[in-house]
Each structure stands twice: as C-alpha cells, then as structure tokens.
Symmetry: C2
Subunit: 232 residues, 2 copies
Amino acid sequence: MAARKRREPLSRDRALAAATALVDAEGMAALTMRRLAADLGVEAMSLYHHLPGKEGLLDGLVDAVIAEITAAADQAETDAAGGDWRTRLRLRFLAARTVMLRHPWAPALLSSRPTIPPGVYGYYEGILATLVDGGFSYRIAHRALHAFGSLALGFAQEVLKPATGEEADAAEAELAVLAEQLPHLGAMVAAEMHAATDPTLGWCDSQTEFEFTLDLLFDGLEQARCRSAADE
Amino acid sequence: MAARKRREPLSRDRALAAATALVDAEGMAALTMRRLAADLGVEAMSLYHHLPGKEGLLDGLVDAVIAEITAAADQAETDAAGGDWRTRLRLRFLAARTVMLRHPWAPALLSSRPTIPPGVYGYYEGILATLVDGGFSYRIAHRALHAFGSLALGFAQEVLKPATGEEADAAEAELAVLAEQLPHLGAMVAAEMHAATDPTLGWCDSQTEFEFTLDLLFDGLEQARCRSAADE
DNA sequence: CAGACGAGCCTTACGTCGTAAGGCCAACCG
DNA sequence: CGGTTGGCCTTACGACGTAAGGCTCGTCTG
C-alpha cells in the first residue's frame, strides 16, 4: 500500500508496446520471448497468459504497424480531400512510407507473415475507394493494386539491400573488383551512385526513387483508366 | 573394392544440390543442418568441412538460383536478338519468372539475405546493357532498375500472400465477415477474384498481373526515354 | 613394408530458442 | 474464513546452430 502497487500488471498491449520498442531499438533478431519478458520485468512464460505465442506476438506487431499506416494514410487523404485520385493516392502512400521509415524492420516482417494480416483489408479498402471514386473499374483497380505492390504500404521491396556502414564499403569494394567484367554497372555507379544523397530505407530507396516509380505507375494507370472509360 | 566405394564423398556442390532438393520439396523451414546432413547420409558437423555454416549454405542456395536465372535470362535475350529493348527485357524477366516458379521459396530467401549476393551484379549488368543499348541514359536506367524492383528477378513482392488450400478458404471467410464494412473490396472480390484462373506465385500473382505491371512500367519508361533524348 | 600424416567424418557438449506442464501465491468472492 | 481463480514463476523438453576434439582411413614418405 505504498505509493505504487507491486508493479503494473502485464497485458497484451503492454507486451506489444515493449516489443515494438525493443525491435525499433535492436532489430528483429533481438525479439525473443525471454528477452521481451526480461524487458517487462517478468519471466518468459508469463507472456503466454496474454499472447498465444511467438507467432501471435508477431501478428500483433504487424497489426500495430498496419494500424499506424492506416491512420496516417487516412489522415493524409482527408487533408487532400477534393484532389484527384493521383494526388490522393500519392499522399496516402507517402504517409505510409513515413511510418515505414520509423520501423525499418516492418517490410521484412510484413512480407514474412504466412497469413494475411486482417488489418490490411481495411487499408486496401481505402485505396480501392480512392480508385473507384477516381473513375476506375474494378478490373483496372484490381490490377492497379497488384502493380503498386509494396509501394502501397510505403516501401519498395528492394533486391539490393540496405548495406550500411562497413557493409556498404565491402559491397563497394566487391563491386570494384568485378567492375572490369561489368562495364555498364561500373559506369552507372560512377555516374550515379555517389550523386545519391538519401539512401534511407533500402539501398538507394530514396524518396526520389520511390516517387519516380509511383508516378511511372500513375501515368500508366491514368492511360488505362481513360482507355477503359472510352471502351464503354 | 566392390562395385561402388564406401560412398560418394561429400562436397560443397553435393550439399547445395541436396539442399535445393530438400527446400523444393519441403520448404525453407525443413532446411536444417541436421536434416540436410541426414539426407546426405552424414552427421551434421560433417557439413562444416565443406560449408562455412548455415549462412554460407543459404548464400550458396541464393547464388545457385541467381545463376539459374542469369542463364535462363541470357538465353531468352539471345533468342530475341534484334528486338527492341522492351521485348528483350520482357523476355528476360519472364524467363526469370519461370525459374522462380520452380523455386517458390526463392523470393523470400532472396529478400531475407543480409548482404547482396555477388551473382546479382552480373545479372543486373545484363539488364543495364539492354537498357543502355536501347537508348537509356544511366540516370534513367538507374531509376528503371529501382522501378522494376523484384520484377527483374521474376517475382512480384506481394503483400497479400499465397493462401493455398484451407488458408485460402479461411481468408475468404474472414473477408466475408468484414465485407459489409469493406464495400469496395467486397465488390471487387465478387467481380474479380473468382474470375482469376492462375494464382501461381503469390496471391493473384498470375502471369497476367505480372505482365500488366511490366508493361505499365515499360510504357512509362519509354516516355521518359524519349523525353530525356529530346532534352539533349 | 612400416610408419607418419592429414582429410573426412563422427561424438560430445554448450548455449539458445519456443513452449508444455504444473506449482505457488495473493486477491477476491461466497 | 475457506475456496477459487487468475497471474506469475519454475522446471523441463526437444529443437536449433556450432565449438572442440577424437577416430579412421587412404596416401605418401623413408
């Protein structure tokens, strides 16, 4: 009956919040049932009274980011009410991107989940609404969703990875060795790579590249929309 | 000194071949040092005389698929010699895709590797050569590479996952429950989903969707190419 | 031909993980 | 006041990757 009770009781939300903090700080690999429990001042098995297991924990993390994205994207689109479908989607995706920049582990986690996180349905509903409202048929809208791929969630699934710090140096060295067999790549790197200023999420996945790809797709889709409208 | 020796000696190649077979048959999760060793009639630790460890094993797997892709893509482009850049790249990417369809685990593995697999440099060199030969500046070509993303390796990084068999049923049921809150999604699914015939690699990642996205990007890039040529 | 050597494989063991099973204890309800 | 229940802990098991060192051959040397 001192100032505070024995301690704050555990809960699903508290566990998820601690997990997010842990992963933000130390990466996915650090997220262990034992470690998470320790961060909460508790034993590992106690977590199982609030979470169905490790998979359930990961599902919870995913739902949390999706919710964060949905909120940010809905807000962004509300701000852009009245704009055309392009700018509304654009703001939506860019809002999602800022969330992803806060949680660099999210893309990998997202695409590793074996089942579709429930929250994404709601998120895609919003995108779809924008498209339909913008004059797209369900057929084209469906294809648009596929074409966007991970851009809709704010990240470009890069094949060429982050490569931060010494890794980047190692990769550069490796590439230099191969340079004579790879004339075009070498030339492009020489011409482009060192002009890059903002490699944030993924290798060269700068804001510029992200928006370039977005506009490429938007241009194509706008044409497709007009074509299908003309067909009717 | 009977017909065969005690047994075929182990080797890096034999280990990698067995690993590929194992993963093709039972998925990534089944790939364990102990299990792989067992498949080879050997104890786990024996593998360490030919491989530097689990990570090295995965690197080997990745290099193997990349090599397979490179070979298929180079062959495809050779067949298309004389065509314009679009058809050459198109055939290249579609060839990569057929390789990925043989190894459904490859996309996830690819995008989980912490370091850039050396083989991809060579592969991208080929793409870049096609682009430059087709009249692209390094600047636009660079952006094109980013825009292609995982399509260049033959797969679309889908957010909505495979969902095979009962999983698909479960997802469908789940979606049905939400349907009233998700009018557009519900309508689109009703209109589109059951018309889908060929969900092969990833949810709805049918050949059609893949090629649609490809052409969308190609159209946009063609414009960008002309624009930059006009600027000179 | 004897003996040493070394490659290739095995045995044992450690520390980590997720988690099943059950015990302990305080808070609450009758 | 005694019983119940829910929250947390203890212990334990079977995976996993892999460090360290032992055994057994084929081969090469003197």
